[in-house]
């Protein structure tokens, strides 16, 4: 906790005024909006996919299931810089789809779509990892009962399965959001650091440090640290109810 207090202290060292000014500059505000926008796309995408993927992993047997399992975990173990490079090699100018994208005037790398894609990649495992054990534990008896009583698969999912896993989903969403808001390495590679255009909150912190504007950097860090603390609170809210 001490390091975090220090950041708060450093940010407000010269009073609340300069700190407030630093986080309300147009570029800081824009960075904040970009971060929120990325999270607003990445989190729902990974939530929906996470539940679907968890269902597939737990309820189905299919060839290559072990590989799917390992692939879901890979973003946890992989360096974010490597992730960024991967997307650069796919969608960059010399990448696989580079010439095609160029011809159709679609920008992915050094633009928002690329940043959203890498964020989806790095925050992918969390919902899956939280939902899988719960799905294992609840078993299929209730679902089978519902099916015998004539419920359609969709009704079963909505009425039986989803209520059982909703706390796990909630916990997963909190973790996904934290990761999406705080991602730095991967986004840094594909964003191109265009101030006021493709700069996220985390990149803004780095850019402020590089230009020796420590008040700006600390002030933006405070915003991110507050989000982190909010995440911790949300986690402890969801945790005891896990597996209900």
């Amino acid at each position: 906790m001490a390091p975090v207090c220090l950041v708060f202290w450093r940010a407000f060292e010269h009073g609340v005024g300069p700190a407030w000014d630093a986080v309300t500059t147009p570029s800081a505000r824009h960075a904040f909006q970009v971060t929120l926008l990325i999270a607003a796309v990445a989190v729902p995408a990974n939530t929906v996919f996470g539940v679907i993927c968890a269902l597939a992993i737990v309820r189905r047997r299919f060839p290559g299931k072990g590989i799917v399992n390992a692939l879901v975990d890979l973003p946890l173990a992989l360096s974010p810089v490597v992730v960024g490079l991967a997307f650069l090699l796919l969608y960059g100018r010399q990448g696989w789809f580079g010439t095609w994208l160029d011809k159709h005037d679609i920008e992915i790398v050094f633009a928002l779509p690329g940043m959203i894609l890498v964020t989806i990649f790095v925050s992918l495992p969390f919902v899956v990892r939280e939902v899988v054990p719960v799905l294992r534990e609840i078993g299929t008896e209730q679902e089978q009962a519902a099916a015998t009583l004539g419920a359609s698969p969709f009704q079963t999912l909505r009425r039986v399965t989803f209520p059982a896993i909703r706390w796990a989903v909630g916990y997963g969403v909190v973790l996904t959001t934290a990761r999406a808001l705080g991602e730095f390495g991967a986004v840094s590679v594909v964003s191109g650091h265009i101030v006021g255009k493709t700069e996220t909150m985390t990149l803004h912190v780095e850019e402020r440090v590089q230009s020796f504007d420590y008040v700006g950097a600390y002030a933006a860090s405070v915003v991110l640290a507050l989000l982190a603390i909010a995440t911790l609170l949300a986690m402890s809210m969801f945790k005891p109810k896990e597996g209900v």
Binding site: A2, C53, A56, V81, L85
Partner: protein
């Protein structure tokens, strides 16, 4: 490592909903995960194996990789001991503010890595209040990695320790076993799989860490430059193929770590069944 359920009877054939789920999951995974990784591997190997080898055996790359692996190994050793000790204190001891400490353990996970890096720079940097300036040294790299990997061992050992039956320890104590012998012969073997998977996760995280290291390490080639920073530098200077070559190496290590974790998991389940 929560309670494992009995193997489930699976729906024979499966419902149509489940097959749709399977299809969607596979498609999404291929698009988001497999395709980019394929691009890296392909790019690294497209110029032939000798070029791949040349890029990896570049002195600066070798230095970065050596530093990364060395510091990560040190981080793992420290985490294995300290993580287990902290988990022990959190589970077995009662002290005021325990809940708060328990929540703070997750902070390095929730805090964006760049903020973690800035924080460490503020604390241990040139103007730090504690008066130790380790900025731009290898110690700084070690500290940054210790900070971001703190939760892993604690969070894998804690649930196992919570579930561990104290009867065995009490029985051993009543038979006159020394506390140290109890730990070594009873507690430690039970915790070992959890410690191992925690350490493996920490290792994977440490070798790939970027945000927390980039500010405080100074990124001096041959001295404090870690592998991910080296890759980043290669990308920035327009040399994606050698970046891809080193990336493939990191990718292979990450995959290896996941295999180790999977093996540990299977090993513990086997113990449960018997």
């Amino acid at each position: 490592m929560a309670a494992r359920a009995e193997p489930l009877p699976r729906l024979s054939g499966g419902s149509p909903g489940a097959s749709i789920a399977q299809g969607l999951a596979t498609a999404y995974l291929s698009l988001i995960v497999i395709l980019p990784l394929a691009a890296i591997v392909w790019n690294a190997s497209s110029d032939g194996r000798s070029n791949l080898w040349n890029a990896v055996s570049e002195p600066q790359a070798v230095a970065a990789l050596k530093l990364t692996l060395g510091v990560s190994a040190a981080v793992c050793a420290i985490n294995a001991v300290m993580g287990t000790a902290i988990a022990w204190i959190l589970v077995r001891d009662r002290f005021p503010g325990q809940r708060a400490v328990n929540a703070i353990i997750d902070l390095p996970f929730a805090l964006p890595t760049i903020v973690a890096g800035l924080t460490l720079l503020a604390l241990y940097g040139p103007q730090g209040p504690v008066g130790v300036n380790v900025a731009f040294t290898r110690t700084a790299v070690l500290l940054a990695l210790l900070f971001v990997t703190l939760p892993f061992v604690i969070r894998t050992v804690q649930p196992v320790l919570l579930e561990l039956d104290r009867d065995m320890e009490e029985a051993a104590a009543s038979l006159g076993a020394h506390p140290l012998a109890i730990f070594r012969r009873i507690v430690f073997p039970n915790l070992l799989p959890a410690i191992l998977s925690g350490v493996a996760l920490a290792f994977a995280r440490a070798i790939g860490e970027f945000g927390a290291v980039v500010l405080i390490s100074g990124n001096l080639p041959f001295k404090t430059e870690v592998a991910s920073v080296y890759i980043f530098g290669r990308i920035e200077s327009g040399d994606p193929s050698s970046a891809a070559a080193v990336s493939v190496l990191l990718l292979a290590v990450s995959f290896g770590v996941l295999l180790v974790i999977g093996a540990v998991r299977r090993w513990t389940t086997r113990h449960d069944d018997s």
